[in-house]
């Protein structure tokens, strides 16, 4: 269990409230306007290996999510599937080198890169295309196995036993440097990444580490993303089967702590008139009234159902409209990254939203496709809050501005104790969380529009009263329709009469059988009477 802060809670709340008030200007909520144009040409992401079962596993996916956070569509493919000449169709190319002994020298990609004049980003590797090498003026070296301390923004983290790290030994004076790597064995320091013009290089990326945030600073410049970015609190794994009272208590506690939050709620497609659904909707109304914003989580999908059955659009549309009809304004969606690559999921399930929280894929959920991912105007980079706690914060106020919209996530807590501990940790983190509904978000269904702007929620242009009283749950709900009956009383009497007749007949029949059997025995078996009985 984490140690509780010694500061009195009321004092902490006052300071937090003050910090939030200040942050309304400095860390104001970002909206669609702050990211690059989502219709911009996609980035071609090439990688030599997915580095499965190594510490770098998941770094390609992390990079895809980083690009998604900037609203940039991605076309990802392994280097060995690269088709000669296709590079010229892209304005931006990113290459991930995870394996040192896989050289691309002499390959079609190497020759195409030699003449490529678009934006270029490379992560890892010691070979750079000529143009990037000239611009960056870097000298790259491979470091032996060592622990490295990374500093980026206000945070630092020690990455233990990093293998095959390619670091920047030197770079041209004009190149911009990002973050610092300090080797623990000899104290040697080098920049984490460098960029010059439209070329950039970073030595290392691993999922779940500070390198994600460090690389985001590089991408902010490389993609020319400007604007203010915010940090959001995202609560995931909210089911109608969750402890809804705990959810309400959480909403109360965060409200009292002045922390606006986003609740990613699971959709329900069947039995939406049941009392259980009414309770779920009531809880979501309550959450919304406690300064929570609602986003619709993606439904669970069967791994084999990529083709779908054509019902996804109708189901999602129905659920959004159901929420709206109950005074709940969903502002976006939560989904795993692979949804953006799957044509059916992206077109039928995500087309309602311009704001999506993308989470990492679960094991085996990767979608292989030559097509570009779907990008969204607003798509914060989702990072578990526990991951942020692994970082050491060394800066003091004012905070270094974040390079991207960041959503710190929690799964809904299993019990009240875990919730209280988490809320306490959130309060003590002093992170100025942004309110999602302060930004502009649009949800468009077949029949209605849900919007947020400047802290207001609008359904079909009409302001939503989030303090509206909850509708009572009908505990006497009739689950099964009573069958229509005619002359019920008459048939009831008839049944009873028939039962009496049948019962009497059986009794008489039994009696006759008994008498008949005795007569039969007397006549045929023992014609002269039973002598043995005497």
């Amino acid at each position: 269990m984490r140690k509780r802060s010694g500061m009195p809670r009321t004092a902490a709340l006052l300071i937090l409230a003050f910090a939030l008030a200040c942050s309304s200007v400095s860390a104001g909520p970002a909206s669609a306007a702050s990211a690059p144009d989502p219709s911009a040409a996609s980035v071609l992401l090439l990688y030599d290996s997915l580095a499965l079962s190594t510490p770098r596993e998941g770094n390609v996916e992390a990079l895809e999510r980083l690009f998604a956070a900037y609203g940039v569509p991605v076309e990802a493919m392994p280097i060995d599937r690269y088709a000669e000449g296709s590079l010229k169709s892209y304005r931006r190319v990113a290459v991930v080198r995870n394996v040192s002994d896989l050289s691309v020298a002499g390959s079609a990609l190497a020759s195409d890169l030699a003449s490529y004049d678009g934006a270029y980003l490379q992560i890892g590797g010691l070979e750079l295309p000529g143009r990037a090498q000239t611009k960056l003026g870097v000298e790259l070296q491979a470091a032996p196995l060592d622990s490295v301390r990374l500093e980026a923004g206000d945070y630092s983290q020690t990455l233990s036993s990093v293998e095959a790290l390619d670091y920047i030994a030197d770079a041209s004076a004009e190149a911009k440097r990002y973050g610092t790597l300090t080797f623990m064995s000899d104290g040697k320091r080098s920049p984490y990444a460098v960029s010059a013009g439209d070329c950039a290089y970073a030595g290392y990326l691993s999922a779940g580490s500070l390198t994600e945030l460090a690389l985001a600073y590089v991408l902010e410049d490389w993609l020319h993303a400007d604007g203010e970015f915010g940090t959001y609190m995202l609560i995931k794994e909210i089911y109608p089967f969750s402890d809804l009272e705990l959810l309400k208590t959480l909403a109360d506690r965060l409200y009292e702590s002045g922390v606006p939050f986003v609740a990613s709620v699971k959709p329900v497609f069947y039995n939406t008139d049941y009392p259980a659904m009414q309770r779920y909707l009531q809880a979501l109304q309550y959450v919304q009234a406690r300064n929570g914003s609602i986003v619709v989580d993606a439904p669970a999908v069967a791994a084999t159902s990529t083709g779908g059955d054509g019902s996804l659009h109708g189901k999602m549309n129905g659920f959004i409209e159901l929420l709206a009809a109950n005074g709940i304004a969903p502002l976006g969606m939560g989904a795993s990254l692979f949804w953006t690559y799957d044509k059916v999921y992206a077109s039928q399930g995500m087309s309602f939203f311009d704001s999506v929280f993308l989470t990492p894929n679960a094991n085996g959920q990767h979608v292989w496709t030559p097509d570009a991912s779907k990008a969204f105007a607003f798509s914060p980079y989702v990072m578990p809050f526990a991951q942020l706690q692994d970082f050491e914060r060394h800066g003091t106020a004012p905070r270094t501005p974040l390079p991207l919209n960041l959503a710190l996530s929690f799964d809904l807590f299993p019990d009240k104790a875990a919730m209280e501990e988490a809320v306490d940790t959130i309060s003590r983190s002093w992170i100025p969380f942004a309110d999602l509904k302060s930004g502009t978000h649009n949800v468009l269904t077949d029949r209605l529009t849900v919007q947020s702007s400047g802290g207001s929620l609008l359904i079909d242009g009409k302001p939503l009263d989030i303090g509206k009283r909850e509708r009572a749950v009908d505990e006497n709900y009739a689950y099964t329709a009573a069958a229509k009956t005619s002359f019920a009383r008459l048939f009831g009497i008839q049944n009873q009469i028939l039962m009496v007749i049948i019962g009497s007949s059986l009794a008489v029949f039994g009696l006759f059988l008994f008498i008949g059997y005795r007569r039969y025995k007397r006549k045929f078996l023992y014609p002269g009477g039973r002598h043995d009985s005497v």
Partner: protein
């Protein structure tokens, strides 16, 4: 009528009589029935247009672990709609572990080896498997008809043979041979089990050989599908009458050993059902069984210790493409599947007889459907509509589906009538201590209970999900028992036992 005409008619009759006598000498009713079933099924399965069953998505479980894979590029489009006869054979190490253990694998492996030796090492033709099944089926039909018509009037024997062809030659049954469904094996082994039991009852063929067939076919039947595992207990229980049919230490020890083995295998195959299947069935038992018809699903759930909020899953199936919750998630494992077993579901139905009655009636609606409507019979290349089914030699299954009263009350009455008809001969055999003659009713009762157990297992185990296919055991049992009842009625043996040896009187005349 002139004399010459009369004389001509008489000559014709004499010729027909001679022909009939000659036919009876060379082709017994059992031989003729088996030959006719073989010929009809050959025409259906091996002559264009080939008849088979479309994949409903279950094939992969049994195919991949046996070294066969889907090689048709458009295979996914043919699910439910079209029968596919060619499959690929793995040419490299097969890393697919068995997702289920079924005796069906044995037959697939034999067919695969024959296919590799005789036809092709790269492509598996499902008709090789169909040929194996059909040969076994022909033998089973022969044994069944032989058990009924041995030493009976030739005329009546041929009528019984014709009825047998009408029922067991139906393509609703034989189409399963061109499929990877375990129903094909269930059909064949049910016939073998009953036929071998009846042959012991008739004293036809060697008792040890028939006992071996009885035990082996029961084992293959019980292990053909997880759902059949409890049936082994029923067979072992009623098999005691087969054990008692003959005195002699060696026979009884052999029978006792066989029945014990059957019991152990039955329990083991139930215990070894993979957890994934258990969860699928549990899901359906609740969402397609208990919840949809409950007047208060929340209360029903809470009575089993599950959060009432899960009532939202009512009516859904495990394979929904888009769901509120991942059906395999830890939350479901701990809060849903982990809270109840099939015993609790059974106890629930016992405590709610009205709901159980409605479920049984629902089950009865599907109990007379031999061929599930969802699956097509033709190859895509034949140009038939998606999901089209054959009408070739399927009059019996069609009539059965159309004409039988589809209520559980009918099933109950049918059971009472059959048991009532055979009870006098059974009581008589027991009274006269003629144990061989007492085997018939327990065998028929065993089949009836196996069929009814199939229905009960379907409802308790998986609600109304895929009922038509889950009730196949009842379909077989109904047809076999009804057929034997009709045959015995034709032969006038319903409440009389048959003589053990030619020329002797019936063991005992009962009640009449």
């Amino acid at each position: 009528m002139s004399r010459s005409e009369t004389s001509g008619t008489g000559t014709n009759a004499a010729i027909w009589k001679r022909l009939f006598i000659a036919a009876t000498r060379y082709a017994s009713p059992s031989f003729l029935a088996a030959a006719a079933v073989l010929a009809i099924s050959t025409a259906a399965l091996f002559v264009k247009p080939y008849i088979g069953m479309a994949d409903n998505g279950d094939y992969f479980r049994i195919l991949y672990s046996n070294g066969i894979y889907f090689n048709a590029p458009d295979y996914a489009e043919q699910y439910f709609g079209y029968f596919v006869k060619h499959y690929g054979i793995f040419q490299y190490f097969n890393e697919n572990g068995a997702t289920l253990s079924s005796s069906q694998s044995l037959f697939i492996r034999i067919a695969l080896q024959l296919n590799i030796w005789l036809l092709n090492a790269h492509t598996f033709d499902i008709r090789v498997q169909a040929a194996i099944y059909l040969l076994l089926y022909t033998v089973a039909v022969y044994m069944l008809i032989e058990a009924l018509t041995w030493r009976t009037s030739a005329k009546r024997g041929y009528i019984i043979a014709a009825v047998a062809v009408f029922i067991f030659g139906d393509t609703a049954y034989t189409a399963y041979f061109n499929s990877f469904y375990s129903e094909a094996l269930m059909l064949i082994m049910s016939l073998f089990t009953l036929a071998s039991g009846l042959l012991i009852y008739r004293g036809r063929f060697n008792d040890y050989a028939m006992l071996a067939v009885f035990v082996a076919s029961s084992l293959l039947l019980v292990t053909s599908k997880q759902q059949n595992a409890p049936l082994g207990i029923l067979i072992a229980l009623f098999g005691i009458w087969v054990l008692l049919a003959r005195s002699g230490r060696r026979y009884r020890l052999s029978a006792a050993g066989g029945l014990t083995l059957l019991l152990v295998v039955s329990i083991a195959s139930y215990a070894l059902i993979p957890q994934e299947f258990v969860n699928i069935n549990k899901y359906h038992a609740m969402t397609r069984g208990v919840l949809p018809d409950s007047s208060d699903p929340e209360k029903s759930l809470e009575s089993m210790g599950i959060d009432g909020q899960y009532s939202l899953l009512s009516g859904t199936i495990y394979y929904e493409p888009y769901t509120t919750i991942d059906v395999n998630s830890n939350k479901m494992l701990t809060e849903f599947y982990g809270k109840f077993g099939f015993g609790k579901v059974l106890a629930y139905y016992v405590a709610h007889p009205d709901q159980a009655g409605r479920m049984l009636n629902l089950a009865a609606k599907n109990a007379f459907t031999t061929r599930p409507e969802a699956m097509g019979n033709f190859e895509k290349s034949e140009g038939h509509a998606y999901g089209a089914q054959t009408h070739f030699f399927s009059l019996y299954s069609t009539l059965k589906k159309l004409l039988t009263p589809k209520t559980f009350g009918f099933l109950f009455l049918w059971t009472i009538i059959v048991v009532g008809l055979y009870m006098p001969s059974f009581v008589s055999a027991v009274r006269t201590k003629n144990r061989r003659q007492a085997v018939r009713l327990p065998l028929l009762l065993m089949m009836i209970l196996m069929g009814l157990a199939g229905i009960a297992i379907s409802i308790v185990g998986a609600g109304d999900a895929d009922l038509a296919k889950h009730e196949f055991m009842f379909t077989i049992a109904f047809d076999l028992v009804t057929f034997i009842t009709i045959s015995d009625a034709l032969l006038g043996r319903l409440w009389r036992n048959v003589p053990l040896h030619p020329g002797t009187a019936p063991a005992a005349a009962t009640a009449a």
